[in-house]
């Protein structure tokens, strides 16, 4: 049975899809089943738990951005609800 998604690192709060996943698909995670809230294309991401506004988005075990609004588990994650933290990271670093 082929996986529909991959969670790259155990610290991640998002999963990357390995195929196009239609809205309302039920997805089995390690400890729960979640419903996908949008049509999500191959290679895009969905939240595996609820993410508060201004929480970090973690992929590869590293910060890839910050939530610009609250994101529910099963939501599509992309440019409409996260932004880069890079500018702030370099200013501090």
């Amino acid at each position: 049975m082929k996986n529909k998604y991959i969670i790259i690192n155990s610290k991640d709060n998002c999963a990357t899809t390995l195929e196009d996943i239609p809205q309302d698909t039920k997805i089995e995670l390690k400890d729960k089943i979640i419903k996908i809230n949008h049509n999500i294309s191959l290679g895009h991401k969905f939240a595996i738990n609820n993410i508060e506004k201004e929480d970090y988005i973690i992929k590869y075990g590293e910060i890839i951005g910050i939530a610009t609004e609250s994101i529910s588990e099963g939501d599509w994650i992309h440019t409409h609800n996260i932004k880069s933290t890079y500018f702030e990271v370099t200013k501090d670093g």
């Binding site: 590869y60 951005g65 440019t79 996260i82 880069s84």
Partner: protein
């Protein structure tokens, strides 16, 4: 035969995996003559570009050094430089620079040949026939992988790249470095947001600081519209996927655009990241082979270095199957592991080092170069 290949020895100690004659224009005005000469010789490749005149400062030096670097690549037996005669980038100066690699080199200007362009083509063909005859006399010898410099390129990336093709290439790069070879990771704008991870792998404090200093107070948007459509939501997401192709090896140092690695092992190269500019810069830095990972697909290669294409996107592997050497999408579709694909890629790399043609070579996608002139 497992940990080596049959290659062409060069006088300066480098080893070619191809045995090409390069016909190079020093200025745009010589391009057609260069192409006409190259098409008459078996192993000749034309390198043309729209520059060579009205150029000063960095624009001039980058053009000069990249052209010289390409013709000095270990895969090149000898080079003929053809100029017009009144341009800022002199053909004889370019030839002198290429001669530092101890290859057979010749040059002339079209304005100095009685007979115009027809005479110039005849003269060029006669010189290249001599080079071709000599090149065919070079005997292949067995070499280990310390003589291989691998360019690590990615382009047309999507989020499958960071999950499949890039980490597979990372394993292959680490394997080559462990065998004493050299790898170059280009595209510095695509390390932004992941530079702290590269910095931790630096060989010493000085290199670590240099890596961090490249990004001090600067912001880079490093994504193309296709990257974003493919699911890369932020520059740092792209960067984390990008650096996966550099594996886990220690970083020996940072080289600037038009420079060559100063030793074996993994090197970072500061250059802008546009695919054709990166591939050209890698070949000019002496890479005798390049692996190009892609998500959305890309056709082109390099005039002097074989380019292996590896793709992780199942749709692209279907639509552009005729342009892809290795299908890494099985990581996405069939639960193949990154290790499985890295073994296939390593096998392919050895075959290409032993003379097997890549798809880009078979299709003749070998003439495009890009030069960063900023």
């Amino acid at each position: 035969m497992d940990e080596g290949f049959l290659g062409y020895p060069r006088s300066n100690g480098t080893v070619g995996i191809r045995n090409k004659i390069v016909v190079l224009s020093s200025v745009v005005c010589a391009n057609t003559v260069v192409r006409r000469v190259a098409e008459k010789i078996d192993n000749a490749i034309a390198i043309t570009h729209p520059y060579g005149c009205g150029q000063w400062a960095t624009s001039y030096s980058n053009t000069f050094n990249i052209l010289a670097g390409l013709a000095s690549n270990p895969n090149v037996y000898g080079a003929l430089v053809i100029g017009l005669g009144c341009e800022t980038l002199f053909s004889n100066r370019l030839a002198d620079k290429i001669r530092e690699s101890k290859k057979p080199v010749d040059s002339f200007n079209i304005q100095d040949v009685k007979g115009g362009t027809i005479g110039a083509i005849e003269k060029g063909v006669s010189i290249c026939r001599r080079f071709d005859k000599e090149a065919k006399e070079v005997k292949k010898e067995f070499f280990d992988f310390t003589h291989i410099t691998l360019g690590l390129e990615c382009g047309g990336s999507d989020s499958t790249s960071g999950l499949s093709a890039n980490p597979s290439l990372g394993i292959v790069s680490d394997k080559l470095v462990n065998l004493g070879g050299t790898s170059i990771l280009p595209e510095f704008a695509e390390w932004a947001g992941a530079e702290h991870l590269l910095s931790k792998r630096a060989i010493n404090e000085e290199v670590a600081k240099e890596i961090m200093s490249l990004f001090k107070g600067k912001f880079f948007e490093n994504r193309s519209p296709g990257n974003i459509e493919g699911g890369l939501s932020t520059p740092e997401e792209k960067s984390l996927g990008n650096i996966a192709k550099g594996g886990k090896a220690t970083i020996q140092g940072v080289i600037r655009y038009t420079e060559k690695p100063r030793g074996k092992g993994l090197w970072l190269m500061v250059e802008p990241g546009l695919d054709v500019v990166s591939v050209t810069a890698l070949a000019a830095a002496g890479a005798n082979i390049i692996v190009f990972t892609t998500g959305r697909g890309t056709p082109f290669g390099s005039p002097v270095a074989p380019v292996i294409k590896i793709c992780g996107n199942p749709k692209t592997c279907d639509y552009m199957a005729s342009n892809i050497d290795i299908d890494a999408s099985k990581i996405i579709t069939n639960n193949k592991t990154i290790e499985d694909i890295s073994e296939i890629l390593w096998k392919k790399l050895k075959e290409v080092c032993n003379g097997e043609k890549t798809i880009a070579e078979k299709l003749g996608f070998e003439e495009d170069i890009g030069i960063w002139r900023a």
